[in-house]
Amino acid sequence: MTVSNSTSEHLLEVRNLKKYFPIKGGLMRRTVAQVKALDGVSFSIKKGETLGLVGESGCGKTTTGRTVLRLIPPSAGEVLFEGQDVLKASAGRMRALRRDMQIVFQDPYASLNPRIPVGHSIAEGLKIHNIGTPRERLDQVAQVLERVGLNSGHMRRFPHEFSGGQRQRIGIARALVMQPKLIVCDEPVSALDVSIQAQVLNLLNDLQKDLGLTYLFIAHNLSVVEHISNRVGVMYLGRMVELASRDQLFSKPMHPYTKALMSAIPLPDPTIKRDRIILEGDVPSPVNPPSGCRFHPRCWLAQDICKHDDPAFEEKEPGHFVACHFAQG
């Protein structure tokens, strides 16, 4: 399956990525089952582009981000960064890749050491990679703090002295200081209040424009993803079920799950009355995903074929990929 035709313009290409987590049990601590967190996901991201990834809790968004960065090893699949396989990269190449690909987390507080000044945390990556003298590193930290809307004096302060929004700026500064090409943003604004969330989203947009950054932007909030992304992928139970440009996806969603997701979002306008698609039940367990189409137990369009045949992830319209036997605009 090809999800792209030319490789050269793509910074990142992910092909058939799988990640199974073993569940151990019994006296021998043998693997008794597997969590199929990612079960064959393919997508690509162009240079300077933002790909949004949405889906409900547990569908595999974070696992995607982490395997792409090789923070956890995948079970199968390929990840190409600038055409080279990240998963087969030598130690030396991996060092360079670790600079090029950075991550920003949902809760920067949990990822910042509470006992050291934030300036040290930001400089840590530079130090590990032996970049610059201590003096130069200090300069870079100062610059990057200003760049994210804090000031250089903040580098001597500790994480607890900052608000949630400021901590997220520090998390961004820490990624930015490495001058990366790709930043995986895993729910970077989910913990923030809307007025602060807007500040951080605008900052991410500005940085992308000025520095030509590429983002893999993970979030469960569709409105936020629509706002920031050029293209959007929708995940369900370890699979990508729909992938399209922002405009295609939001004006003409084709997968029943995407449609349900969109219709479920409460809009801040009481004059709008919409027909709701209320899905029944919960997302099934990724240990034993349903046969055929994984969405079939909750899908109101399901037919017999859906119970047996896993629909292929196909390009139904130029640039618009869907995995559904009955995809329709």
Partner: protein, 322 residues
């Protein structure tokens, strides 16, 4: 409005926390009322006092917190004057609550069925047999799959959405006059949120329960509430019927809040932002609490706090522009 229509009325309520760092003015003079069957939405950013407001009504403030001033009149009686014993009879009976983390409200060592049956015994005096039957009815009503089997589950064996449905079933068990729902869907996925909001609407229609719906999600408020109170730094800054509020927000903070929310299907290049951040409630500023972030600030604003000013159409706004 007939007096008997008013179910809950807060007058000048101040709730402070006395901590090592100082006194937290968490709720600093709050007035509002809820009519029978009405849904009042309370919105505002984290730390503005939404949860403390609900905990003040329920008198679940813990050791460090205290309502130091004001009245909380529920059906004509001041909840602050009741004994702990009398308050216990009201909680979970005439006033029910659901919270953001449903599992923390369920007792982890008892099966789900047992907990609902117990609530029915305490509040409605049902026997075990009757309670059992009614519990199955309630769990079916809230759409829990396979209720008979689920009754035997422990709280950790069910998902967040299912736990929230159980909490609503518990609330229903008591046919409450007032339901306080504090961020009831914040921890849930949108498709599950849609199910829970639907359920709350049903509850309102079937039992005519008044609901205080606390949330930071303007979409949820727009969809559920009849009237909305916007809070900022321990104070109500605006009060309006829901249509009026979204059509023409009056307070600069409400305006900023609405403009900074990304709206599905309405992409803008830049989101509006509210500069700065919420002031500390240890030492709330004199004058208007929003002044440090307000684009319309005037000299007067930092000197004297504006009162709640009455506008046409049942609206109130705390701002010197009006």
């Amino acid at each position: 409005m007939a007096q008997s229509d008013v179910l809950l009325k807060l007058k000048g309520v101040k709730t402070y926390f006395f901590t090592d760092e100082g006194t937290v003015h968490a709720v600093d003079g709050l007035d509002f009322q809820v009519r029978r069957g009405e849904t009042l939405g309370i919105v505002g950013e984290s730390g503005c006092g939404k949860s403390v407001t609900s905990m003040s009504i329920l008198r679940l403030l813990g050791k460090t917190g205290k309502v130091i001033e004001g009245e909380i009149m529920f059906d004509g009686e001041n909840l602050l004057d009741l004994s702990e014993e009398e308050m216990r009879k009201i909680r979970g009976n005439r006033i029910s609550m659901i919270f953001q983390q449903p599992t923390t409200c369920l007792n982890p060592v008892f099966r789900i069925g047992e907990q609902i049956i117990e609530a029915l015994q305490i509040h409605q005096g049902l026997s075990g047999e009757e309670g059992n039957k009614r519990t199955i009815e309630l769990l079916t009503l809230v759409g829990l799959p396979d209720p008979v089997r689920r009754m035997r589950s422990f709280p950790h064996e069910i998902s967040g959405g299912q736990a929230q449905r159980v909490m609503i079933a518990m609330a229903l068990a008591c046919n409450p006059e007032l339901l306080i729902a504090d961020e009831p869907t914040t921890a849930l996925d949108v498709t599950i949120q849609a199910q829970i909001l639907d359920l709350m609407r049903e509850l309102r229609e079937k039992v005519n329960t008044a609901i205080i719906l606390i949330t930071h999600d303007l979409g949820v408020v727009a969809e559920m509430a009849e009237n909305v109170m916007v809070m900022y730094a321990g104070r109500a800054v605006e009060y309006a019927p829901v249509h009026a509020l979204f059509e023409a927000p009056k307070h600069p903070y409400t305006q900023g809040l609405i403009a900074s929310t990304p709206v599905l299907g309405n992409v803008r290049d830049e989101l509006e932002t509210i500069p700065g951040q919420v002031p500390s409630l240890l030492n709330p500023p004199a004058g208007c609490r929003f002044a440090s972030r307000c684009a319309h600030r005037m000299d007067q604003c930092t000197q004297e706090e504006p009162p709640l000013i009455k506008l046409e159409g049942d609206r109130l706004v705390r701002c010197w522009l009006y």
